[in-house]
């Protein structure tokens, strides 16, 4: 591994984020801002039933409307395309953009209407007459497991997509030998990241060049490959324009069904076709919901609070198609014991189909729900033993000298100093004073509680949960790449080979290259080539880009620096170790001979006679970087190295509830955050604050609720509540830096920070507040109405 520079000049400095300028001026280029000539617009015909046979589709009235160009049905589309990628080995759970013969959730697209304007397309969609024969349906995951349950995909034979039990270590022995046990259930309600920009795409087919152009609001690995496969095109006939700015994603912008639909229509009709979801379409049929999970947890532990073993069953309601949901049960295996030294674990991962909308990847990829279950367990151990919640965490934390630390499920945690981070946060908030403040609030008539959560953010995106849950998948390569080109005038162009949705990748890559080459990052232009011109990428998933794009940029820059050193050494007639690189130039270690950046550029581009033998003209380097610690497949007993890096966060929350309204108010929120070396402090801070806001939403407000008729009843922002500035308190961040030994600069991931612990912390605070009433909540989100009712019932029963 290359050595890091002695003193960091740009990395970790409070430098501006270069992307911001275009956005504050309203000059971003989002999917809906893309203009193509002669474009047609799509609106969808949704299923009003959670399950129904499609008897007939009559589009004649719609087609009679002036301006309507086409009405597409599922049968036609399925005949011309292959099914959408299915990660698991469940060949009978087939998914196409439009329903075929049967609709499986409310809102599922049954037909697509294409018209001159979006408004006309919507008019046409209202005129498409679909005859349905309603079928039995199932919404609840436990009902879906019963033998007599309606089966969502009859050819599959059951609703079970995945049911696998892993046993890592001597679970039964540890349970038998432990003096204490407890069991509980917690439930994570279905929410999502719900970006303010919905999914949007324009597709255009050029029959003369045989090329499909795609402009989309996308964040997805191997997007172009998936398009090519489903559309039966060569991959080099699909060109995804990656310079489209994505208006927020946090995992969910994966509109592959939208893309195949528009791609097919563009080819069929011979004009560009555009689909920009409206909010309604996005909420109920954008296939972008998050985990929806029941946890049953048992623990065995000693009287001193040391936890010996854990059994966790996670039952996830995947919705109507496989999507990414089952894999979101797999990723948490890489941090299944959280920051604790639990020596054995039994984990049963169950994913079932129901007649709800489809899940997509959501920030943390299943880790935040799992962290909520683990942290609930720690609070319960403390309560069972009458011990302090923080002390129980301290006693179980992995100690800093024990890293790299191998957890039972096969991942080696890179580094951490959990005791110090916790101590710093408690010192920062003045924990004794905080407890006194809670007690003062209680005396004033409020219910008040302190919440604690400690958790990990696995980062780096080595997605070995895929081969773990699907043995037919043997992928062990998870790369990211960077190209650096120095032109003949000495100016630098570099590449980001994927889309961005606010993570500041242009700032990241220019900062790292500037650091290594010792030149001002603002002098580096960052391009986003289209997918045909790009190097391999796995896109920004799994908190990976600081590690992976940072790593690729680091190595590409080191290679460039090495070239410059070789050119200069050759010029001076010296060996490479007799010259020094500094500030873009190279000097002989002895004497005063020096070549500046421009001298070196001139030799590389114009003086073939001065280049060392074997050098190509010009100055360009590439690096494709494989994920650190990655590259191995799972063992037969289900152990695998998941992500390489593990950031740590420790949350402390003071919350008060008005007992008459059930309205929680966050009085204070502090987080200790350790993501190793920070590349840009503004970006990391923003992600942490934004993640906590998102976690507050998941804990208190946000849920896709289905009624007993299978209808989704939270379809607008007046029902699905997003935290505003009034609901998010001022948050105090306490920094700590434990560098990762596995990355080029010691960096770890931060894209999911805050979100991974905030729901657990708020739940902990609410339950501390409710403890004097003898009640507890065990389901997120903790809606105000439910909380108010529970408090009223508890007060009533204490009076009677």
């Amino acid at each position: 591994m290359s050595t890091t520079p002695r003193r960091l000049r740009y990395v970790s400095a409070n430098r501006r984020v270069r992307e911001d300028r275009r956005f504050v001026a309203g000059m971003g280029q989002f999917a809906a801002d893309v203009r193509t000539a002669n474009t047609l617009h799509v609106a969808l015909v949704p299923s009003p039933h959670p399950a129904a046979r499609i008897v007939a589709i009559d589009a004649s009235a719609a087609m009679a409307l002036p301006g309507i160009r086409y009405v597409l049905t599922g049968e036609e589309l399925a005949a011309a395309t292959d099914q959408l990628m299915n990660g698991l080995d469940t060949p009978q759970v087939q998914r196409y953009p439009l329903a075929i013969k049967q609709a499986r959730y409310v809102g599922e697209w049954v037909a697509a209407v294409v018209a001159d304007t979006r408004a006309l397309a919507e008019d046409g969609a209202e005129l498409v007459d679909v005859s349905y024969e309603p079928l039995p349906f199932v919404i609840d995951p436990e009902e879906a497991l019963k033998p007599d349950a309606p089966i969502v995909h009859a050819p599959h034979g059951s609703n079970v997509l995945l049911d696998r039990t892993f046993v890592w270590g001597e679970v039964e022995r540890d349970f038998a030998e432990s003096p204490k046990h407890l069991s509980f259930r917690v439930v994570w309600g279905r929410s999502s990241t719900v970006p303010i920009e919905t999914f949007g795409i324009t597709a255009a087919w050029d029959p003369w060049r045989e090329l499909l152009d795609v402009w989309a609001s996308i964040q997805m690995p191997k997007y172009a490959d998936q398009i090519a496969r489903a559309m039966r095109l060569p991959a080099n006939a699909v060109r995804v324009h990656q310079d489209v700015d994505v208006g927020g994603s946090y995992g969910v912008k994966r509109g592959i069904k939208h893309t195949i639909l528009c791609g097919y229509l563009a080819r069929r009709i011979g004009r560009p076709v555009r689909l920009i979801e409206d909010r309604f379409e996005n909420m109920r049929a954008g296939d972008a919901h998050g985990p929806d999970r029941i946890f049953d947890v048992s623990l065995s532990f000693n009287t001193d609070g040391i936890i010996k073993s854990m059994k966790m069953r996670a039952l996830d309601n995947a919705g109507a198609y496989a999507g990414r949901a089952p894999f979101q049960l797999g990723k948490p295996i890489g941090a299944i014991v959280g920051p604790y030294k639990i020596q054995s674990v039994e984990y049963r991962a169950q994913s079932v189909t129901t007649n709800k909308a489809v899940q997509e990847a959501v920030r943390g990829f299943g880790q935040s729900p799992t962290n909520y279950a683990i942290e609930s367990a720690i609070d319960k151990v403390a309560a069972a033993l009458g011990l302090d919640r923080i002390e129980v965490r301290r006693r179980n934390f992995i100690r800093k000298e024990e890293f790299p630390y191998l957890i039972p499920s096969g991942t080696r945690y890179d580094s951490g100093d959990y005791h110090t981070v916790a101590a710093k946060v408690l010192d920062h908030v003045g924990y004794t004073a905080l407890q006194a403040e809670r007690d003062r609030l209680r005396q004033s008539g409020l219910l008040a509680g302190i919440g604690i959560a400690a958790c990990l953010e696995p980062s780096g995106g080595n997605s070995s949960f895929e081969p773990l849950l699907n043995p037919k998948n043997t992928t062990s390569t998870w790369m990211e790449a960077c190209r650096i080109h120095v032109d003949a005038l000495g100016d630098i162009v570099t590449t980001v080979n994927t889309t961005s949705s606010g993570q500041g990748h242009e700032t990241l890559v220019s900062t790292v290259i500037g650091e290594i080459l010792e030149i001002d990052p603002d002098r580096i232009r960052v391009l986003r080539p289209d997918s045909l011109e790009s190097m391999p990428s796995n896109s920004p998933v799994g908190s990976r880009m600081a590690i992976m794009l940072g790593g690729a940029a680091f190595h590409a820059a080191q290679k460039l620096k090495q070239k410059l050193i070789a050119i200069a050494a050759h010029h001076f007639g010296l060996s490479e170790d007799a010259v020094d690189y500094a500030n873009g130039g190279v000097a002989a270690a002895a004497g005063d001979r020096r070549l500046t950046w421009l001298d070196l550029v001139n030799i590389a581009h114009r003086n073939w006679h001065l280049l060392p033998q074997g050098f190509e003209p010009g100055l360009e380097t590439n690096h494709v970087y494989q994920v650190p610690t990655g590259g191995t497949l799972p063992t037969p007993d289900g152990r695998v190295q998941m992500y390489p890096c593990h950031s740590f966060e420790f949350h402390v929350v003071l919350l008060a509830i008005d007992p008459d309204l059930g309205l929680p108010h966050i009085k204070r929120y502090a987080i200790g955050h350790d993501c190793g070396t920070v590349i840009n402090p503004h970006i990391v801070k923003g992600m942490t604050l934004g993640g906590i806001a998102h976690g507050i939403g998941a804990a208190l407000f946000e849920e896709f609720v289905y009624d007993d008729q299978g209808q989704m009843i939270t379809q607008t922002f007046m029902d699905y509540l997003l935290p505003s500035s009034l609901e998010v308190p001022e948050i105090e961040i306490v920094h700590h830096c434990t560098p990762s030994p596995f990355t080029v600069l010691g960096q770890k991931g931060s894209g999911e920070s805050g979100y991974l612990g905030a729901p657990a912390a708020i739940s902990s605070a609410v339950n501390d507040a409710l403890a004097p009433l003898g009640i507890a909540v065990a389901k997120l989100p903790i809606r105000i109405a439910a909380l108010g009712d529970a408090i009223a019932a508890a007060r009533q029963s204490s009076k009677s």
Binding site: D20, G26, G690, E730
Partner: protein, 168 residues
């Protein structure tokens, strides 16, 4: 229907259906794509423009209703191409954004706030932007950016970028 609208100090005309929103008209007919579509039911604030200087939801208004107002969009805020207003610059300084989608609405809301209330408290800022939803930042750096802009505007005693116009 033909409409003639005053946008960023210029008179613009378009032939629109009566049902077309002001937002769609600005974006599609005038090419002003800095105003963004978020929810189209008046909750998220991504479509915020200033009408006679006051923040308004351009998704909740028909283009034909906007006749007679002075409309300011985000494209009318930068003093010159490549030159940021004090508020825009403060958003860059504090990184008061990530994906940039809610940002035009935030900048316009902040512009109206600081014109009317040059020395806002933190609570004033929080309340002013509470009708603009941001999913990236958790609002912290947005509040910091607006506070910084207020401080800089006070120090510079600079003229505000948006003219204060009377009520209709």
């Amino acid at each position: 229907m033909k409409v003639e609208l005053s946008v960023n100090g210029e008179s613009r005309s378009a032939d629109v259906e009566p049902r077309k929103t002001l937002l769609d008209c600005l974006r599609e007919d005038f090419g002003l794509t800095g105003s963004h579509t978020g929810c189209e039911h008046g909750v998220c604030g991504a479509c915020t423009v200033l009408l006679d200087g006051e923040p308004a939801r351009s998704c909740l208004m028909f283009a034909v209703q906007a006749d007679g107002y002075e409309i300011t969009t985000i494209e009318g805020i930068a003093p010159a191409p490549g030159e940021l207003s004090v508020i825009q610059d403060a958003f860059c300084e504090m990184h008061g954004l990530q994906c940039g989608y809610c940002t035009p609405g935030m900048v316009l809301t902040a512009t109206a706030l600081l014109r009317d209330n040059p020395q806002p408290t933190r609570q004033d800022i929080v309340e002013a932007i509470s009708g603009n939803i941001c999913r990236c930042t958790g609002y912290g750096q947005i509040v910091e950016a607006i506070a910084l802009a207020a401080q800089r505007l006070a120090l510079a005693n600079a003229p505000k970028n948006v003219p204060k116009t009377g009520q209709r």
